[in-house]
């Protein structure tokens, strides 16, 4: 099909051809075409098959509003062909038709399916026999739908980023009202963002011979410094944030003021066969003509309820389309457009509308008729006309979703023949057609005024600008013509053939009547039952129609029917755009690459990626006992607490004394809440009079920093807190040969007398300045070396090399867990929970109630100290080889579950199973027997309260 001669505002560039693929066949279009316009130019009229009945559907709105041109592009379903720009090489495929759009086997449903597919049919039919339901379900799911989500998970070609944007004024809608508002607000000094879902700014100007004006206004807004997001769909209003989706970015825009200039959505008419390809909205036909230089048909019949149908008729005439007749439902249609039509010799029939579109696969004719006051065709007035294009315009409805989500109301206004937005909340302004204005001057003026109001409310402007706004308000009041008046179209639920109210979900007018008959007689109930307004068009094409049908069928007044709730998203959006960038934050220590090279089995430990073992956890345990092991403990939280009050501050946080800690010495500490519950543990090393180096658990690092900072904020002591977790790496070299290894790397005297257990010393190790803490988490003589992350791998390598001849091997988290369990060192969060206190956890020695002054948890711990806890944390041993699961129940005396196992492992050193468990106090003594119920097994274990390995701590002190 050839294009029309060059149009003044056309978007296509005829010099540049683009090749693409449709359903496997090559196709061509021009730069600037959409998929739909290129296919239309090549003669395609059927673009999709409908959801339920598989009826052929063609272009209707050409503006991304209706569901009729949904296709898949490069495998992604749900793309609107009429707005998606053509790209070289794109693979476009139809949805929901087998085998092809033109011959869809499932269209049989349209012919025979009616008795089986009433509204809510899935509750009514295909129910029996029940065992066949899975079969039915598969068939139904196969037959219905809007395409398939890709089943494979291909590498995502695009990624979505979130962007937070704070602005003074957000304008939604880039038509004349939005552009005027943006320019004005920005000129007054406000920081303005404008989002428009079209491919080009200008809104309806673009297809109504206003391209020049649109470009001038866009330039004006750009010059004023407005940030333009095009194309950017405003998806919804969420507590003051408007989400705007722009290809690979989801903007979350928080503005102090909002101007909503989203315009209107043209409505179809309801009549038999109103979904046939060839039935087109007046805006759709005009877009094809003016943007893509296409002739939408050869013989057109036009049925309208307002002026826009007449204007479309004139444009079609001018494009060389034969206009057979124009039916205007208004009995008193007059004005410029009507006169021009008369002068061109086009018959204009007043008080007449379309009652049927003829044709099976495309429009071949239309039946026009005069209708009575209730919308029924007057007998004998019917006239059948041959045509291949039926242009309809059933008035408009405001695209007010954002305003409504923000709290505005919409009510039916009989004088406008459509919904009117009312009670717009503070901070939002409607401008242009969405606010019920019409006429170019009024639309622009209302936009400029809304922009001024928004800027003023945001604190910009001066006396002069306010005066100007007041003048404009007066002028707008005088000017304000009612938006192009529209006659109330009849709701033909009784016509021959299917009269579609909702194209997305294939809901006919009859279905809505049926739902009312079945008792779903309010608009919200009918919506849920028939799913009208719930399809991809989000009610754009069907909300007003469903209100009219409801009113007509129930005899209610239109104003009394109400409207369904507006919910986000306003535009269809891929889930991937909402999910954002697939970010799983992972923390890796500075030594991480080495763990990989050494064959470490890297697993998650909180946010950290840590090696669980290096292939043989048992051998790693044995190495620590018999030679030496090296573990990366960089994940420990590390806090520097400095200042004259540092000692006093720690005394108030920990239940033991820290202010009397000697310089160069280390003490273990447990942190409690004021309720006396354990929240974390770690070591404290005094570096000098005013400095303490505090370590926390790996997972508690952030929370404990916040905990320290919180009390510091409250107490306001002379202390500074520095989190050095990310700045320092740490390794623990432990085992009988640890000392020999360390001695090779440092000039420090490492003898047991000079560097004893719980000493902390600063020294150079392999030339790196380090803080060495002699502690014994794993139960052997060990040195925890803390050093700058920059030397992470270097020092690790140096220690491994020095230890090579001493049998050193790296060990992971799992062997460390076995080693610490042998020493009965608890893991906070594993062996304790939010109810555990130090007394019940067997650490009464850590609580110094005799220390002077207050500390966090003191009062609760005083209460606990004089009380026997119900449960105690104790060790247990099992000699029959069974390893109870962590979490297994410990049975009480009445054979009910009472406690639980928190840790259990096989000890390769001891040769039997050891563990920690919360047990009833009466069996918490050494040698008591406890019964563990584990996945149906009953195990008997022996309680012990002393460490399983080296109970006197001789090895770690040696």
């Amino acid at each position: 099909m050839t294009r029309l001669p060059k149009r003044p505002g056309e978007r296509i560039d005829r010099a540049r051809e683009i090749a693409f693929e449709f359903d496997g066949a090559p196709a061509r279009g021009f730069e600037g075409d959409t998929i739909a316009s290129a296919l239309y130019a090549s003669g395609r009229r059927v673009f999709s098959r409908s959801f339920k009945y598989h009826r052929p559907r063609g272009l209707l709105c050409c503006a991304g509003q209706c569901p009729n041109c949904l296709v898949s592009v490069d495998g992604d379903p749900g793309v609107r062909a009429c707005t998606e720009p053509l790209r070289e090489g794109m693979r476009v495929e139809h949805l929901n038709a087998i085998p092809s759009l033109d011959r869809d086997a499932l269209s049989i449903v349209d012919v025979i399916g009616r008795p089986f597919t009433p509204p809510g049919f899935y509750y009514k039919t295909f129910k029996r026999p029940r065992r066949l339901w899975p079969l039915y379900e598969r068939a139904l799911r196969h037959a219905a739908g809007l395409g398939r989500a890709p089943t494979k998970r291909p590498e995502r070609r695009w990624r979505t980023d979130y962007r937070r944007r704070h602005a003074d004024v957000l304008i939604v809608g880039g038509g004349p009202a939005g552009l005027a508002a943006a320019a004005r607000a920005a000129q007054l000094g406000a920081d303005v963002v404008l989002a428009d879902e079209g491919n080009e700014l200008g809104g309806h100007l673009l297809h109504t011979a206003g391209t020049e004006r649109a470009r001038a206004m866009s330039q004006c807004a750009r010059d004023a410094g407005v940030e333009l997001i095009v194309p950017g769909s405003a998806l919804g209003y969420f507590d003051g944030i408007v989400a705007v989706w722009e290809r690979d970015t989801l903007h979350q825009i928080r503005a102090a003021q909002h101007v909503v200039a989203t315009g209107t959505v043209e409505q179809p008419l309801i009549f038999a066969g109103n979904d046939l390809p060839g039935v087109m909205l007046s805006g759709g036909a005009r877009r094809l003509v003016s943007l893509y230089a296409l002739r939408p048909g050869n013989r057109a019949v036009i049925a309208t309820t307002a002026d826009r149908g007449l204007e479309a008729a004139l444009e079609l005439l001018e494009a060389g389309v034969e206009v057979v007749a124009v039916a205007d439902l208004r009995a008193d249609a007059t004005g410029g457009a009507a006169e021009q039509l008369a002068s061109r010799g086009v018959p204009l029939w007043r008080g007449v509308t379309v009652v049927e579109a003829c044709g099976r696969r495309a429009v071949t004719g239309a039946v026009l008729a005069a209708v009575d006051a209730t919308g029924r065709p007057l007998p004998g007035s019917e006239r059948r006309l041959r045509c291949d294009l039926l242009v309809v315009s059933g008035g408009v409805t405001p695209a007010a979703s954002l305003l409504l989500q923000a709290g505005a109301r919409s009510d039916y206004d009989p004088s406008l023949g459509t919904l009117r937005v009312e009670q717009v909340p503070d901070g939002l302004y409607g401008a242009g057609e969405v606010a019920g204005l019409g006429g170019e001057e009024g639309i622009e003026l209302s936009g400029a005024l809304a922009g001024a109001d928004a800027a003023h409310a945001a604190g910009f402007g001066d006396e002069g600008s306010r005066d100007r706004a007041e003048e404009e308000r007066c002028r707008l009041g005088e000017l304000r013509p009612p938006a192009a008046a529209s006659a109330e179209p009849p709701s033909l639920a009784h016509g021959r053939g299917k009269c579609f109210a909702c194209l997305c979900e294939d809901v006919t007018a009859k279905d809505i009547r049926t739902s009312i008959d079945e008792g779903y007689d309010s608009i919200e109930l009918s919506k849920r039952y028939t799913t009208v307004t719930m399809g991809p068009c989000q009610g754009r094409m069907c909300q007003l129609a469903s209100i009219r049908l409801m009113a007509a069928e129930t005899g209610q007044d239109l104003t009394a029917v109400g409207a369904t709730t507006a919910r986000p998203p306003w535009s269809a959006v891929p889930l991937g755009a909402l999910a954002g960038r697939p970010v799983e934050p992972a923390k890796r220590s500075a030594i991480h690459a080495r763990h990989r090279e050494l064959g470490g089995k890297v697993m998650w430990a909180g946010d950290w990626r840590r090696p669980y073992d290096y292939g043989d956890p048992q051998a790693e345990v044995v190495a620590v006992h018999e030679a030496a092991g090296l573990i990366d403990v960089s994940t420990l939280g590390k806090l520097m607490v400095r200042g004259p009050d540092a000692g006093a501050f720690l005394d108030r946080l920990y239940p033991n004394r820290l202010s009397n800690l000697k310089v160069g010495r280390i003490r273990y500490g447990v942190l409690n809440t004021d309720a006396g519950r354990i929240i974390d543990d770690g070591t404290v090393c005094r570096l000098d009079e005013e400095s303490f180096y505090v370590t926390t658990t790996s997972t508690g690092a952030e929370a404990i920093e916040a905990w320290f900072a919180w009390w510091l904020a409250d107490w306001r002591m002379k202390v500074t807190l520095t989190d050095v977790t990310q700045a320092l790496a740490a390794v623990n070299v432990a085992g009988p040969n640890a000392r020999k290894i360390l001695e090779q790397l440092t000039s420090l005297d490492c003898s047991n007398d000079a560097f004893s257990y719980l000493d902390g010393k600063r020294a150079q190790v392999a030339g790196v300045p380090c803080l060495i803490l002699r502690i014994g988490f794993v139960g052997e003589c060990g040195y925890e070396i803390h050093y700058p992350v920059a030397y992470g791998e270097y020092l690790w390598d140096a220690v491994l090399e020095a230890g090579h001849d001493h049998g050193i091997r790296p060990f992971g988290l799992e062997p460390q867990r076995v080693l610490r369990l042998q020493k009965m060192h608890i893991l906070v969060g594993q062996d304790t929970d939010s109810e555990s206190d130090p007394f019940a956890a067997g650490m009464a020695w850590i609580v110094k109630l005799d220390k002077e002054g207050d500390f966090i948890g003191r009062w609760a711990l005083e209460d606990f100290s004089g009380r026997e806890p119900d449960l105690r944390l104790v060790g247990f041993e099992l000699r029959d080889g069974n390893v109870p699961a962590e979490g297994a129940a410990v049975m009480g005396d009445r054979r009910t579950a009472f406690g639980r196992v928190t840790s259990s492992r096989v000890s390769p050193k001891l040769g039997h199973v050891i563990g920690l468990a919360w047990v009833p106090r009466e069996c918490a003594g050494d040698g008591s027997e406890i019964e563990i119920s584990d996945r149906g097994r009953r195990l008997t274990a022996t309680v012990t309260t002393k460490p399983f390995y080296d109970p006197e701590g001789e090895r770690l002190r040696s």
Partner: protein, 109 residues
């Protein structure tokens, strides 16, 4: 839920930058009775209205500060660092960017 919190150090930021620290409760100077201790540990007033509460700017300056928030509308009326004397009034008046207090903050009541 979404609103803006005004950090006394950093300025207006989305609430997701912050950690909520709960109602401001006073820790007793003297040893409380068991009932008082239990109330201090476990009971909160949970008012429907304006309350003073702790906030922590985790994703920012990591400062703890005190905010005055209307729990019905999520409007933050004022924020101050704890160093500032509460009786001297708010150190910072909460004001979303460029707007009047409350606009764009929280849900409409």
């Amino acid at each position: 839920m979404s609103f803006v919190v005004l950090c006394p150090n950093c300025g207006a930021r989305e609430v997701t930058d912050f950690e909520f620290g709960g109602e401001l409760v006073t820790r007793s100077k003297e040893r409380p009775s068991k009932r008082e201790l239990s109330a201090y540990n476990y009971f909160r007033r949970n008012v429907a209205g304006v309350q003073h509460e702790w906030w922590y700017h985790r994703a920012g300056c990591r400062a703890w500060f005190v905010a005055e928030r209307d729990t019905r509308t999520n409007v933050i009326l004022s924020t101050r660092l704890p160093e500032a004397d509460a009786s001297a009034g708010p150190t910072v008046n909460a004001r979303p960017p460029g707007g009047t207090p409350g606009v764009g903050s929280g849900t409409a009541a």
